[in-house]
């Protein structure tokens, strides 16, 4: 594994841990640097506050997934000492070739046995408990009925009456839906409760809240209607396979890697990250860390999604922007259309060669019309996200009046605009005027296609510019 600063930062549980590790390395806290002959294991002693130094080691025997070990009592993983040792390697400190210490060799063997066991478990077919599934579906149908009734009641009195209703009643229903295994609709009702509170606290925002609540209601209606049919059919026929993958996720289903493997959604891939962003879902109280990835072989754009509940923020490792080429031996792709969610366990990284970088803009859609057509296909589906991530070729970037536009080489245009829903921290259009260098010919723009209700325009929210020399990130 080639150790880069970026790779170290990605290993860190938080930025402070990485900085502390860097400081340890800078102030010379490490001694007794040693490594195995094959270069897969590094170890050293690190002075801490105690009398005896900590024994820290890094095991690179699994490429892309280093194992960090340290004798310190820290609950952070990896600890600052392991990160500091990474910085020692990065700084090209001298490591003596030595025999692997017996205790580490033992731990290595244990780890290898664990991996084997895990692989064996993955190939064993999963038993399906049909009785439990039946019970679950029946409960889900009950929940959907409750949700339908609430939605009908709300529509009868009108969405405008939300300001006068009780947010607690929506909260309660949301909680009940949670116990009916319907976390998707649960989030929708929590959103309704949030809209009610916002309207009550900030009456000037009532119109906006009503519009948002109506969008939520439309989504909820589609979920309820389609789910009731699907679930009833499953109960009637006794076939519990998740055929409608979009609905499965809309109801709050979570894919496990073994499910994805069983679906055959695994393949090797070469990926490049085009952009990274973080948003907060107020209804689910969780941070969503999204990475947008371009498949160098197929040109597909998919997303990684790391969900970090606010309550458990420090226990769930954060994701970050990633640079260079990721060679993924096993890429799991979640079922769906448009930009699918992807995930992997291990990957090897290296910088892109100039030739690989130069080839990236050519992976864009052939023209704007094709991108817009794909975007419209997604937008019209109520259950799909209200945007499509796409890479489009740039002919020219410019303005007509105060409106920013992208013109493709064929002369078609699209309005460049920030998506209001993403918040001010995602504003990027104005950054196009702040680029330190002109956009070279043959570049492409990566962004999210969306429909703007205010003036009925299909717009593109720019995230990155992919030039033949580099990826210029307008966000992160």
């Amino acid at each position: 594994m080639e150790l880069t600063e970026q790779a170290i930062l990605l290993q860190a549980p938080n930025p402070a841990a990485a900085e502390n590790g860097r400081k340890l390395s800078r102030k010379g806290s490490f001694s007794g640097h040693a490594r195995s002959e094959d270069g897969t294991l590094y170890w050293a002693a690190c002075a801490g506050s105690g009398k005896t130094p900590y024994r820290t080691s890094l095991d690179f025997s699994a490429p892309g997934d280093p194992v960090c070990r340290c004798s310190c009592p820290s609950r952070q993983f990896p600890c600052k000492h392991a990160l500091g040792l990474m910085f020692e390697i990065l700084a090209k400190k001298s490591f003596q070739v030595e025999e692997i210490p017996a205790d580490i060799a033992e731990k290595r063997a244990k780890k290898a046995a664990q991996v084997e066991k895990k692989q064996a478990r993955a190939t064993t077919p999963k038993k399906v408990n049909t009785a439990a599934l039946k019970k679950k579906i029946a409960r889900q149908l009950e929940g959907l009925d409750m949700a339908r009734k609430m939605a009908d009641d709300l529509l009868r009195s009108g969405v405008g009456s939300l300001a006068g209703s009780s947010a607690q009643s929506f909260d309660k229903l949301a909680k009940d839906l949670g116990s009916c295994y319907l976390t998707g609709p649960q989030a929708d009702f929590t959103r309704m409760a949030l809209a009610v509170r916002e309207m009550q606290q900030n009456p000037s925002q009532a119109d906006l809240c009503c519009a948002q609540a109506l969008r939520t209601l439309i989504h909820l209606h589609a979920v309820i209607k389609k789910s009731q049919t699907l679930l009833q059919e499953q109960l009637d026929t006794g076939n519990y396979t998740n055929n409608d993958t979009i609905l499965f996720e809309a109801l709050g289903g979570v894919w496990k890697l073994e499910d994805l493997r069983a679906l055959g959604a695994v393949r090797p891939a070469r990926l490049v990250q085009l952009s990274f962003d973080v948003s907060f879902d107020e209804a689910k109280k969780e941070f969503i860390e999204r990475g947008w990835w371009l498949d160098m072989d197929s040109g597909r754009i998919d997303e990684t999604r790391n969900l970090r509940p606010a309550k458990a923020l420090k226990y769930v490792k954060g994701d970050d922007s990633r640079f260079g080429l990721f060679q993924v031996p096993e890429l799991f792709t979640y079922p769906g259309e448009g930009n699918c969610r992807i995930r992997w366990e291990t990957a090897e990284t290296r910088p892109l060669t100039p030739e690989e970088q130069a080839a990236l803009p050519a992976l864009a859609q052939p023209n704007l019309a094709a991108a817009v057509k794909a975007g419209k296909n997604q937008l019209k589906n109520t259950l799909m996200p209200s945007f499509l991530a796409t890479l489009v070729p740039i002919g020219q970037l410019g303005r007509v009046g105060e409106t920013f536009l992208l013109e493709d080489p064929a002369g078609s245009r699209i309005v460049l605009r920030d998506r209001v829903e993403d918040g001010e921290n995602h504003a990027s259009v104005l950054r196009l005027t702040l680029l330190p260098e002109p956009v070279p010919a043959g570049s492409a723009l990566f962004g999210l296609l969306f429909y703007d209700e205010t003036d009925q325009f299909i717009c593109l929210h720019p995230y990155s510019i992919v030039t033949p020399e580099r990826i210029i990130r307008l966000l992160f």
Binding site: L379, K380, L434, P438
Partner: protein
């Protein structure tokens, strides 16, 4: 195809959802919109489907209306999305280019906290930006960060805005386009800071931009622009014109800018201005130009001659004016005319000393003149004024009048050994050593040394942190000062340091010491131990000793007992934990035992101390680190 009927239907359906399905029967606008869709319904099956859905909705009983409304609204939405407009006709103008900085591969976790600190609000932001600047200055070159730093010049928290200004000044030329971008000449503090930063970076090169914004600039921005124009020596003509038109604070800014200009026209302007408004001389305070120096010298001499030729009593107005003019004599003024003025004041010391103020008390202008000359010397450093100070000292050798000036001028220009030989007799180590006006000479010599500091960052001694001494300070000064018989306070007001008041003598002595010099450490450590036992101040003296890598052992107990009030245990922890960073564990154990012997802790802290001290000794003996305060506190 005219899609307006479709948009109307969508708007009416949304309105119906907001108003409630209970009112659908009375919704004539929805009915009208449905009728308007008929032509489209005939043209395309999908519009026909919407029309059918609408018909069904309007005819439906109340209990099913909700579902039907959402059905038709979903369908309408889907059709509307597919009909979304794309692009915009018209001439496509290239994007304006205000770019600066670099495109870098910096990750979200690295960049986002900085962006949030620069653009957000709340506490802790200054520290985030400061540490990012110290640890990763390259982040500030990023084209996403630079605009945020520029915007941060308008931060409501002044400390943050000032820090941003300093960062931008250090980044330099790359930020200039951003400072120009979206500049508002009639703006507020952010725009003022932009002008100041621009001027600091570009200097005289800023003139074209300043001239561009001058005409539209207002209030504080105008003042900043005029002040910045003073950086360019070619702007004298414009500034002379502005002096005729500007009023109030803007005119004061013009005068300050003109104070940095030279030439006959400028000299003529100032001659007339000072004749008309003598108080305008304040604007010349920081100026080192020839006209400023000459005019201030002439004006001062004229005023002093006038009072000398008077009745021996100086009225309040004249006294105040002379003080104002004297204050303006600072700022590096050292033309021959100014040097002549100082020589003349030296010759006139006796008659000037006889003058009385309006209360018929001695006016004492001589000490003011002496102080101003000293300040000017510290500001200008080696040069003609320095030579003049030597000359004045040579002419008055044996008197205290110019001893301080002579000592500092010598430190700045002469070999260290020579300076020591010449001036050390004025620091007596036994009595009587010097003849004549002993206390005054001693005080004058100490006043000189008080202005000298060891500067760790540059590794040299500096006069008032500005100019370095010609050679490293002679170690014999330190030895002599530790042996001096008159430890007069060097500072005008002895400092209240920690829990004890003691003279500034040792503070100033420590300012002279290079803690990394083993010779100086050897001299100072026993001296400080002796002094701490005499005067108290155990916390301060202990810290000084730690700085020198020495221990207060043997003096700590006596020093603690010198203080009137029993001490807090926390203070003991502070001192010992600091000592633990530089001294071996055995030494710290000995210090703890000495504190125990002193038994001079607050009554409330004694129980905790009885546990904390043995615990700490045990920890240190076990080879562990000195405990944190929380560890001590947990022993309660």
């Amino acid at each position: 195809m005219n899609l307006q009927p479709l948009y109307d239907v969508k708007a009416r359906l949304e309105q119906a959802a907001v108003a409630g399905t209970g009112l659908l029967e009375e919704d004539f606008r929805l009915r009208k919109a449905a009728e308007g869709l008929a032509p489209l319904a005939q043209a395309s099956p999908v519009f026909g489907k919407i029309a059918a859905g609408l018909e069904k909705l309007l005819a439906a009983p109340e209990e099913t209306r909700g579902v039907l409304l959402l059905d038709v609204l979903s369908l309408t939405d889907a059709v509307v999305y597919t009909q979304g407009r794309c692009g915009l006709p018209g001439e496509l103008k290239p994007l304006p280019h205000h770019g600066a900085g670099l495109c870098q591969e910096i990750s979200y976790n690295q960049l986002q906290p900085l962006v949030a600190a620069l653009t957000g609000s709340g506490g802790g932001r200054v520290e985030t930006v400061r540490s990012a600047w110290e640890e990763h200055p390259e982040f500030f070159q990023d084209y996403r960060i630079l605009p945020a730093v520029v915007l941060g010049l308008g931060d409501s928290y002044a400390e943050m805005a000032d820090q941003n200004a300093e960062i931008l000044k250090k980044i330099g030329a790359p930020v200039l386009p951003l400072l120009e971008h979206n500049f508002e000449p009639a703006g507020k503090k952010e725009m003022v800071r932009r002008v100041e930063v621009f001027s600091q970076i570009a200097g005289a090169e800023a003139t074209p931009w300043l001239l561009k914004i001058l005409s539209e600039s207002r209030k504080d921005v105008r003042i900043a622009v005029i002040t910045a124009l003073g950086e360019d020596r070619n702007n004298w003509k414009l500034l002379l014109d502005l002096a005729k038109t500007e009023r109030g604070k803007a005119r004061e800014a013009v005068l300050k800018s003109l104070a940095r200009q030279t030439g006959d026209a400028v000299r003529a302007f100032w001659t007339a201005e000072l004749a008309k408004t003598p108080s305008s001389v304040r604007s010349l305070t920081g100026s080192s130009t020839e006209p400023a120096s000459d005019l201030v010298a002439a004006g001062l001499r004229e005023r002093l001659e006038r009072v000398l030729n008077g009745k021996g009593i100086v009225n309040e107005k004249d006294a105040q004016e002379i003080q104002t003019w004297l204050a303006s004599a600072q700022g590096g003024k050292e033309t021959p005319a100014m040097l002549d003025f100082w020589r003349w004041t030296a010759q006139q010391r006796v008659p000037l000393g006889k003058l009385l103020d309006h209360n018929a008390k001695p006016w004492d202008i001589n000490s003011t003149l002496s102080d101003r000359l000293l300040d000017t010397l510290c500001y200008t450093g080696p040069g003609p004024l320095c030579e003049l100070c030597r000359e004045l000292w040579e002419n008055s050798r044996g008197k205290p009048d110019y001893l301080t000036h002579g000592l500092l001028a010598s430190l700045l220009t002469r070999p260290a050994g020579e300076v020591y030989e010449e001036f050390s007799p004025y620091i007596p180590t036994k009595t009587p050593l010097i003849e004549g006006d002993k206390p005054k000479l001693n005080r004058a010599a100490l006043q000189g040394l008080y202005r000298v500091f060891w500067k760790k960052e540059t590794g040299d001694w500096r006069v008032y942190n500005a100019h370095p001494t010609a050679q490293p300070l002679d170690i014999r000064w330190i030895v002599r000062l530790t042996q001096a018989v008159w430890k007069k306070n060097l500072q005008a007001n002895p400092g209240q340091v920690d829990d004890v008041v003691f003279g500034g003598y040792d503070v100033s002595l420590m300012n002279l010491v290079n803690p990394d010099d083993p010779e100086m450490r050897d001299v100072m450590a026993p001296y400080l131990r002796q002094r701490m036992a005499q005067v108290g101040g155990w916390r301060t003296y202990s810290r000084w000793l730690f700085q020198l890598g020495a221990s207060p052992r043997g003096a700590l107990k006596d020093s603690m007992l010198q203080v009137r009030k029993p001490t807090y245990l926390y203070y003991v922890w502070l001192v010992l934990s600091e000592g633990a960073k530089v001294l071996p564990a055995e030494e710290i154990i000995a210090l703890i035992e000495e504190v125990q012997e002193a038994n001079f802790l607050r009554r409330e802290d004694r129980t905790l101390a009885q546990q904390a001290f043995p615990y700490t000794i045990a920890q240190l003996r076990a080879g562990n680190a000195f405990p944190e305060w929380s560890d001590w506190w947990a022993l309660r």
